[in-house]
Each structure stands twice: as structure tokens, then as C-alpha cells.
């Protein structure tokens, strides 16, 4: 009984983690950017979605749409205001670009967190469920919302996979992650590819933020931890590997759920971090990493 409960809850949580991490890993794979404002973007989507849904009576679906759009806009702002100026700066040596991107997005993440805190306070908010009601699965009472969230995550991931593997644009993204110079030589503008990636990233991350608010609830204090979990999952799975991130999301999701149910809820984050340290020592490129 408890085993089944862990199985179901773990599945929903892991799916959500997977959705939160795929955008992050796609961004690194294609654009080479580790966006430390990741949690901030989820936060913007979640809080604006919640605000519109609750205060303006837009309902959960209206709120979700607004939230996702907010995530998209936040993603564009991150690109145009923080990332691109650093990439194009002549004063920053290329060898140190990575550090400046990490520092820049970290600062931007802090600005988002503090800004959201100012606008919405740091009280946790929970978006009303997209679907109410509870369903009984072999004796485990499960909110229908939880199942819908897991399903939505998988639909989004499935759509992403279709886009990447079956469309011309997807092939360009894949090619850019393997060899950007080769793609330039074939007449594709990398700037256009990067814009596409930031768009996909914004939509995925916005959706993850909205679903998170509907599942767990969210507060502006979470931004740093959200970034850290995405980062953890992505490194565990192997930087730039989408399947690796999904696998890692399930490892982390189940490790946390099992710890919370069977040992002690306060120990929840520990096993994931220990697994990560172990993996980094034994296999630094992550579970399915290429390099």
C-alpha cells in the first residue's frame, strides 16, 4: 500500500522534476549556457499565474496560460539583458565567459527573487488545482490534479522530443548542440537557433513553474533551491543529455520520496546530494553524459 503510494507520488514528482530540468539541459546542450536564474524564471511563471488566477478570477487555466507567457518573457529578458551582452562583450576574455555567465545569471536570479518577494511577499502560495477531486487507485487515494500534472509533463516532454527528432528545426537544434560551426557553414544563423532555444526554454520552464505552484505551492524563497535541484539533476544525468536528465529526475524524485516516506521528511534533500557527490567522483560526466 505504502509502496504503491511511493510509486505514484514519486512518479508525479519525478515527472515534474524532469520537465523542470529538460529546458535547462537543452539550453546548456545547444547554447552552452548554464542559467542560474532558472529557479527565478519558474518563480515568475508560478507567481504571476497564481496572481492572475486568484486575484483576477482568470481561473486555473487562464492563470496557467498567463504564467507560461510570463516564463517566456522572463526567458527573453534573461537572454537579451544578461546573457547576450556578456557573450558579446569585448572586455570579457573568452576563457572567462563561462564564469561571467554563471555570475551574471546568478545575480539576475537574485534580482528576480527579491523583486518577486517585494511584489508578492515570501508567503507560500498554491495555485488552485487544474482539476479537483480524488481518484482511488488500488486503494491509494490520489488527487486527480497530481495525475494531470504528471500527464502534462509527459505530453510536454513528448512534444519536445517530437520537435527535436522529427522536424527540420529540431534537426538544426541537434546539429547546433553537436557542432555549431558546421551549422554556420551550412548557412544557418546561430543567433536564430539560440532565439528558438530560449523560446522553447521559456515555455517549458514557465509550464514547470505553473505546475509546481499547482502541485506543491511555491514561495519566492524557493528560487535558489529550484535552480539547485535542476542543476543537480542535469549534472547527475550528464550535462546536455536530455535522456540523462529524465533518468536523473526519476532517480532524484524517487530517492526523495522514499526518504520522505520511509525515513524522515526533513532528510528529503540529502540522498540526492549524496548520490550527486558520488556520481561526480566516480563518473564526472554524469549518468548518460557524452564527455
Amino acid at each position: 500500500m505504502r509502496g504503491l503510494q511511493i510509486l505514484i507520488d514519486g512518479f508525479a514528482i519525478s515527472s515534474l522534476y524532469g520537465l523542470g530540468a529538460v529546458g535547462f539541459t537543452l539550453m546548456f546542450g545547444v547554447c552552452g549556457v548554464l542559467n542560474l536564474a532558472h529557479g527565478g524564471i519558474m518563480l515568475i511563471a508560478a507567481l504571476l499565474g497564481w496572481w492572475v488566477a486568484a486575484d483576477y478570477g482568470a481561473g486555473p487555466y487562464g492563470g496557467a496560460v498567463v504564467g507560461i507567457l510570463a516564463g517566456l518573457i522572463a526567458s527573453y529578458v534573461t537572454y537579451f539583458v544578461v546573457v547576450r551582452p556578456i557573450q558579446r562583450s569585448r572586455a570579457i576574455p573568452r576563457t572567462e565567459e563561462e564564469l561571467f555567465l554563471l555570475t551574471g545569471t546568478l545575480l539576475w536570479g537574485v534580482m528576480i527573487q527579491v523583486g518577486m518577494d517585494y511584489l508578492f511577499s515570501n508567503n507560500p502560495v498554491t495555485m488552485q488545482p487544474l482539476v479537483p477531486g480524488v481518484i482511488n487507485i488500488l486503494g491509494v487515494r490520489t488527487p486527480q490534479n497530481e495525475l494531470l500534472i504528471a500527464a502534462t509533463c509527459w505530453i510536454a516532454i513528448g512534444l519536445l522530443s517530437l520537435l527535436v527528432n522529427k522536424t527540420q528545426i529540431g534537426k538544426q537544434l541537434l546539429a547546433a548542440s553537436i557542432n555549431p560551426r558546421g551549422l554556420t557553414l551550412l548557412g544557418f544563423e546561430l543567433s536564430r537557433i539560440y532565439l528558438i532555444v530560449w523560446t522553447i526554454y521559456g515555455l517549458l520552464t514557465g509550464l514547470a513553474g505553473v505546475l509546481l505552484a499547482s502541485f506543491f505551492g511555491i514561495s519566492s524563497d524557493n528560487a535558489g533551491n529550484l535552480t539547485a535541484s535542476a542543476f543537480t539533476i542535469v549534472i547527475l544525468g550528464g550535462l546536455g543529455s536530455v535522456p540523462g536528465s529524465l533518468l536523473a529526475a526519476y532517480v532524484v524524485g524517487y530517492a526523495e520520496t522514499i526518504t520522505a516516506y520511509l525515513i524522515n521528511p526533513t532528510l528529503r534533500p540529502i540522498p540526492a546530494l549524496l548520490i550527486l557527490v558520488l556520481v561526480l567522483y566516480i563518473r564526472p560526466r554524469g549518468l548518460l553524459g557524452r564527455r
Binding site: Q168, K171, Q172, L174, A175, I178, N179, R181, G182, L183, T184, L185, L186, G187, F188, E189, L190
Partner: protein, 490 residues
């Protein structure tokens, strides 16, 4: 000199990277006061040999004996302490410190406890600076120095260790003829000090005046050894660098067509940092022509092509169909018909052969794409068989064909082929050569080919440029090449 024991004895050195054997069973000895040239084209494994000696890479087999002690597999810093110094090709000095401080760094002991350098260090650093010709710029910082002085600084750092064995990577790359003379004199000074010197370079010509002996490598193997004269005359070496017998078939009818100038490079200059890679280079390519640019590795061919493709900034002007290319992005230049197939091939390794080709054809309509694909799979039948295989699993020759086919998928007006023969076995060269011949005979395509291998480049060419030390030194008919340039080329 014969009775002195060798300072450096390398024997049976082998290094594998995954499945690739980068260095196979290489051996040589260098005695005090002797200079050995280690030459080979790009990818021949010569730089790997240097790294193996220095301990930057660990050999899979073989020994590296330094005055009798085997140091193979030791960490780099211990090998350095045992008396091996290296002059890197690309210098990375400490930019916030002065020239003097940079030299002092190399004189410091490997100790955590010595916080202040001993007094003699300063004196010694000044002497070394004087010797390499940096005496006048001791207080300057590296970013303000000209290129030759940066190379001098690298020499000074290597000298500071008073090494028994000195490894020099491409000693003359990017230097002007007068600078080459002073650097030769410096390296000759190492000989007089009784050091053993290993010069690593692309070709015999640049080091011929300096070396006692030359070891030539190709595809990780030793192909010849002897005096510079002997190696230059060696059949295998000539085949690797020049190919076999030089043939030429310029199409005379082309002159009658008097094709219009499609591409005009009007005296461009390119600098990498402070090293001049192209100097007042001017070439033109007429519509329908097949033009070859020949030159040894490092002469500037790739730089020229990258300038045309908009990948490196240049001074001067390049015209394409009468319009300047300035300010156009590399991708736009490619879409407008100048498609480059680079020496590095730049394939998408994890994608299949078919996916690679499809990406090249994405700018075409569906019908055109189908047609172009069918034509190319006919031109390169091997690609047809391997359509579903990831590009990284192809052999070197197949990868080269894929790279060319992928570029052709874009229906280029001008196809730039950079070193297509790089690292390929002779059999493959023949296949490639046939494909190019068919291309030339059956299509109106314009081609600009860059090659070190003259035998490969000339049969297809209507016109030839020779690039040497960043400059065009000869231009003309391939028929005249053999008599005018044939002997002076290597």
C-alpha cells in the same frame, strides 16, 4: 661527437586515443649539441610525440630515456625538473606581470616556502632576457609586445630552466624572414650550449638549414629519417607532401568563355593577435573555373578561406558577384552561394549520414532536395550504402566524401574545398580524385581548392596560386608549375 652518449633516447613510443593510433612505435635519439627535426603534416602525430616526451600525455608503450633514466609516464613537472624544456607554439604569458617577472617565474624553485626569490634570480633573468633579445622591454607587459617578442619570451622561459633537452613547437610560425634569421641564430645557440634540441614542424623546408637530422612522420608512423637533403628527396616523403607524378589538365576552352570574375579577393591582411597570417593576398576566381591554392601547412590557406567565408576578420576587401562581402554573416555568405567544406570537416558526428545531408539541403524546396540527394548519392555511392550510419562511424575517406556531399547539397555557386586529402590513405585519394574529376566534367560548378598535396591539386586545376608564408608567391597555369615551382616547393 660520436662518442658522446645521447641525452634523449626515445624507443618504441606508442599512443592510442580510443581506437585511433596517434603514434606508433616511434624512436629516435638526440646527442648533446644535436638538432633533430620532427616533421609531418597536420595530424601525423608529431605534436603527440612532443607531448609524450614532455609527459603531457602518457604513452601506452615505449620508453623516453633522459641521460639513461626512463621518464616515460612521469608527471610533467618532474620531467621538466629532470632537464626537459619546451617552447610552446602559442604563448600564454602572465599578462599582468612584466617581461622580467615572467622570466623570473621560470627561474623559481618548486617550493611553497620560498616567498621571495633569491637575489641571483633577478640577475639571471636579465642575462637571459639579454640573450634572447628582450633586454629593451623588461618593464613592459606582454599584451603590449609584438608577436616576435612574445615568442622570445617563450624561448627565455624555456632557457631559464637550463634544460638538457629543448623541445620547440613550430619555431618559425608567424615570423617574418628577418625574425626567422634571428630565431635560427638563437636555436643554434642551444646547440653551442651542448643541449639536445627537437624542432617540431610541418615541413622540412623551414627547418632544413638548422637541423642535423630529420625524422618524418605520417599517420603516426615513421616514414623517413636522415639528413634534410635525404628526407626531401625521399620517395615516400614526396608522395605524402607532393603526391606522385605531377599531372595537369587545364581546360583551355575556359579562356574562350572568358568567365566573369565571381570572387575577387583584393589584397587582404589577416592577423591572429599579433601574428600576421595573410599579407596583401589577392586572388580571383572566374565563373566555372577550378582554381587551386597550394601551399604547405601553415602557409595561410585555411585563413584565406575563412576570411572569404566571413569567419575571421580581415582588412581589405572581398567581392562576390561584384558586391562587397563586408558586414555579411558567415551563414548569409554560405546561403548566397559560397559554401566551404573545411579541413576539419565539421560533420555532425552523432547524426546519420542522411541527416547530415538533409541539413545541407534544408534551404532547397522538397523536389530540389530530392533531386540533389539522388545525384549526390550517385556521385558518392558509398554514402548511399551508409545512409543510416552515424557520421562518426565512417572511415576518414567516407567522412571527407560526406563533408563534400553535404556542402554540395546546398547547390553552391562556389565550392571551397580545404585540404580534402588531409590524413587520407592513397587509395582513398584516388577515389576522391575521380569524384572531383566527374564533378568538373559534368557540372558547371566553380571550385576553389586548397591543398598541400600538389599531385592531388593540379590535375583538376585550371589555374594555380602558390601561398607561402602568408603571401601569394606564384600564380599561373598548372602546366608551368612543375618546371617553375616543382623543386622549390618542398
Amino acid at each position: 661527437m660520436l662518442d658522446t652518449t645521447p641525452l634523449l633516447e626515445v624507443d618504441g613510443l606508442t599512443k592510442r586515443f580510443g581506437g585511433l593510433v596517434a603514434v606508433h612505435n616511434i624512436g629516435f635519439t638526440i646527442r648533446p649539441g644535436e638538432i633533430l627535426g620532427l616533421i609531418g603534416p597536420n595530424g601525423s602525430g608529431k605534436s603527440t610525440v612532443m607531448k609524450l616526451v614532455m609527459g603531457i600525455e602518457r604513452p601506452n608503450a615505449g620508453s623516453v630515456k633522459l641521460s639513461g633514466t626512463d621518464v616515460a609516464g612521469w608527471p610533467t613537472h618532474r620531467i621538466a625538473r629532470s632537464g626537459v624544456g619546451i617552447v610552446f607554439q602559442h604563448s600564454r604569458p602572465l599578462n599582468r606581470q612584466t617581461v622580467l617577472e615572467n622570466i623570473k617565474l621560470a627561474l623559481l624553485p618548486d617550493s611553497l616556502l620560498r616567498l621571495v626569490a633569491e637575489p641571483h634570480v633577478e640577475q639571471r633573468a636579465r642575462e637571459i632576457a639579454e640573450r634572447v633579445g628582450l633586454g629593451g622591454v623588461l618593464a613592459r607587459r606582454p599584451p603590449t609586445l609584438p608577436f616576435a617578442d612574445l615568442r622570445r619570451l617563450e624561448m627565455a622561459k624555456a632557457l631559464a630552466r637550463d634544460p638538457k633537452v629543448v623541445l620547440v613547437d613550430e619555431p618559425f610560425a608567424g615570423l617574418t624572414p628577418s625574425e626567422v634569421a634571428t630565431f635560427s641564430e638563437l636555436i643554434d645557440g642551444f646547440r653551442r650550449d651542448g643541449r639536445a634540441v627537437l624542432l617540431v614542424d610541418h615541413n622540412v623546408k623551414s627547418v632544413a638549414a638548422l637541423v642535423d637530422r630529420v625524422l618524418a612522420m605520417y599517420l603516426g608512423q615513421r616514414i623517413a629519417e636522415g639528413t634534410a637533403e635525404e628526407v626531401m628527396r625521399d620517395e615516400t616523403v614526396r608522395r605524402v607532401y607532393i603526391g606522385g607524378k605531377i599531372e595537369a589538365h587545364p581546360r583551355k576552352d575556359l579562356d574562350k568563355k572568358g568567365g566573369e570574375a565571381l570572387l575577387e579577393v583584393r589584397g587582404i591582411d589577416v592577423f591572429y593577435g599579433k601574428a600576421q597570417a595573410l599579407q596583401q593576398v589577392a586572388i580571383h576566381v572566374n565563373a566555372g573555373e577550378f582554381v587551386s591554392v597550394v601551399g604547405l601547412n601553415g602557409a595561410g590557406k585555411t585563413t584565406l578561406f575563412n576570411a572569404i567565408s566571413g569567419l575571421v576578420p580581415f582588412a581589405g576587401d572581398i567581392h562576390w558577384s561584384g558586391e562587397t562581402l563586408h558586414g555579411r554573416s558567415p551563414a548569409r555568405i554560405a546561403r548566397e552561394g559560397i559554401v566551404q567544406c573545411p579541413e576539419t570537416r565539421e560533420l555532425f558526428g552523432e547524426l546519420s549520414v542522411r541527416e547530415n545531408l538533409d541539413l545541407g539541403g534544408q534551404h532547397l524546396s522538397k523536389e530540389e532536395r530530392k533531386e540533389q540527394l539522388a545525384w549526390l548519392l550517385g556521385l558518392f555511392p558509398i554514402l548511399n550504402e551508409r545512409q543510416r550510419q552515424p557520421a562518426s562511424t565512417l572511415s576518414g575517406g567516407e567522412q571527407q566524401m560526406l563533408a563534400i556531399a553535404r556542402a554540395l547539397m546546398m547547390r553552391p555557386k562556389l565550392l571551397i574545398l580545404d585540404e580534402p586529402t588531409l590524413g587520407l590513405a592513397p587509395v582513398i585519394l584516388e577515389q576522391l580524385s575521380k569524384a572531383l574529376a566527374r564533378l568538373r566534367e559534368t557540372t558547371p560548378i566553380t571550385v576553389l581548392l586548397g591543398e598541400q598535396n600538389v599531385t592531388f591539386a593540379l590535375p583538376h586545376a585550371d589555374r594555380v596560386y602558390v601561398l607561402e608564408h602568408a603571401r601569394v608567391v606564384w600564380e599561373g597555369d598548372p602546366g608551368r608549375f612543375a618546371e617553375e615551382m616543382g623543386t622549390g616547393y618542398l
